[in-house]
């Protein structure tokens, strides 16, 4: 993890988790146009998630897809509750996340990177958000699935979790596949543990910008 990687952005971060690599850049707060989108009570957050055409083994057609629009929304919902946007009425904060290498768990890496970039941009926030996927592969509960694990012949369950670092509150939780109640509880515990490790790494990356260990 590293912050301040895009000079033209107000804040930016790169996050590499295994072979999943993403860059997040933040622009704003800045004036929002058209005017009818403005909220006079608080600023708004806009997220864009995009996979580069060379990020996956088979070329992905560039441009937004149904999937990327959904992930953008998931990201926005996961991050918005931590930001103190009341300080910027009528303004907007734009977050652009580009996945340049994908190996499962891109939405989690994107949330982690976006939160880091927002902090780097100086947008006031209650806490950093970190995200990781947990799942069940061949009867085993595992953390941070790779593409090979996701495509396991016996089928895999994928559960992306986003967690607010200090309080341990969950801001995003999705489930793809089948899992029992007990296994889900176990998976969540593991996911929370994973998120706290990421949280520590985020804190280190932010401090490293100013030469603090």
């Amino acid at each position: 993890m590293k912050v301040d990687v895009v000079p033209s952005a107000d804040g930016s971060a790169v996050v590499e988790i295994g072979n999943t690599k993403v860059i997040a850049s933040v622009f704003g707060p800045k004036p929002l146009h058209p005017k009818h989108l403005q909220n006079p009570e608080k600023g708004i957050l806009r997220c864009y998630y995009d996979m580069m055409s060379f990020s996956v083994p088979e070329r992905k057609r560039p441009g937004p897809t149904r999937r990327s629009i959904e992930i953008s929304m998931v990201m926005k919902n996961a991050l918005a509750s931590t930001l103190l946007l009341e300080e910027f009425p009528k303004a907007v904060v734009d977050v652009f996340v580009e996945v340049y290498e994908a190996n499962a768990g891109t939405r989690c890496a994107s949330i982690t990177a976006a939160s880091l970039a927002l902090a780097d941009a100086g947008v006031p926030m209650r806490d950093l958000v970190s995200a990781v996927a947990v799942g069940k592969v061949g009867g085993m509960i595992v953390l941070d699935l790779t593409k090979e694990e996701e495509d396991h012949p016996e089928g895999a369950t994928d559960i992306p979790i986003a967690m607010v670092g200090r309080s341990g509150k969950i801001t995003a939780l999705q489930l793809d596949g089948a899992i029992t109640k007990e296994e889900l509880k176990k998976a969540l515990e593991l996911g929370k543990k994973g998120c706290s490790i990421l949280y520590e790494m985020q804190r280190k990356a932010l401090k490293a910008k100013y030469g603090v260990r």
Binding site: D10, G11, G28, P29, K30, P31, P40, G43, L84, F88, P89, K90, A91, A119, D120, A121, G122, V123, P124, M125, R126, D127, L128, G165, R166, R203, L206, K207, Y210, G211, V212
Partner: protein
């Protein structure tokens, strides 16, 4: 109980202190009994108030600030000025021009045209962030020529230095005229391009290393003072 030392770098979510006797200042919030940082910055303790001097972030206009801006629009009775940060500022004719102006007959661009750079003063900021500027006051004027560079507004105090020492040093050693706006826009004009570049480089260095100590000596050395 305060957990941080003064000038320590803190990041969002960090617990700075605990207890109801501490007052959360700028860049912090109270969460239960705890004081939490909301921005990246340096912790600052003054009495019972715990606040953060941010290192990054958008410009937050306050009444009394002298800022540098660019005219981006001319309205019927005033100008819209970009002062950096999330909000545009409004400069009405009455605050900008001394003489009487017949709005129906006058083209306002004869006073300030699109793209003009001005030094103005923030006179009011409403809760919904309508910023009003004024040109009434010493030193408030249109800027002719020169260059404008933009830095984070929170680093302006370091560029100016204690009692203006840093900016005085740069002005004298590079032989340039410099005006620093509170919004982080800095206007530099010298008779030679070389001097201007030297001053610009010095200011960017200050911005990058504003959180370190011994900056004045470093700048002195950079500008060619052999005595340090």
């Amino acid at each position: 109980m305060i957990y941080v030392k003064p000038k320590q770098i803190v990041i969002p979510g960090e617990v700075l202190g605990e207890g109801m006797d501490i007052i959360p200042g700028e860049g912090t919030i109270r969460e239960g009994r705890k004081i939490i940082a909301t921005v990246v910055g340096l912790a600052d303790i003054s009495g019972r108030v715990l606040k953060i001097i941010p290192l990054e972030g958008p410009y937050n206009p306050k009444p009394g600030h002298v800022v540098i801006g660019e005219v981006v629009d001319i309205g019927f009775s005033g100008w819209i000025v970009n002062i950096g940060g999330p909000y545009m500022a409004n400069l009405p004719v009455g605050e900008a021009v001394k003489e009487y102006v017949d709005l129906l007959k006058t083209d306002l661009s004869r006073y300030y045209d699109l793209g003009d750079k001005i030094v103005a003063k923030v006179i009011s900021v409403t809760r919904s962030k309508n910023v009003q500027l004024s040109m009434k006051g010493p030193g408030l004027r249109k800027l002719e020529g020169g260059h404008i560079i933009k830095i984070t507004s929170y680093k302006v105090p370091r560029v100016i230095g204690k009692g203006g020492s840093m900016i005085k040093l740069i002005k004298e050693m590079t032989n340039t005229a410099i005006i620093v706006g509170q919004n982080g826009w800095i206007w530099i004009k010298g008779s030679r391009r070389k001097d201007e570049l030297k001053a610009i480089r010095a200011i960017y260095t200050i911005e990058k290393e504003s959180h370190t100590s011994g900056l004045t000596d470093k700048i002195k050395r950079m500008l060619g003072d052999k005595s340090v």
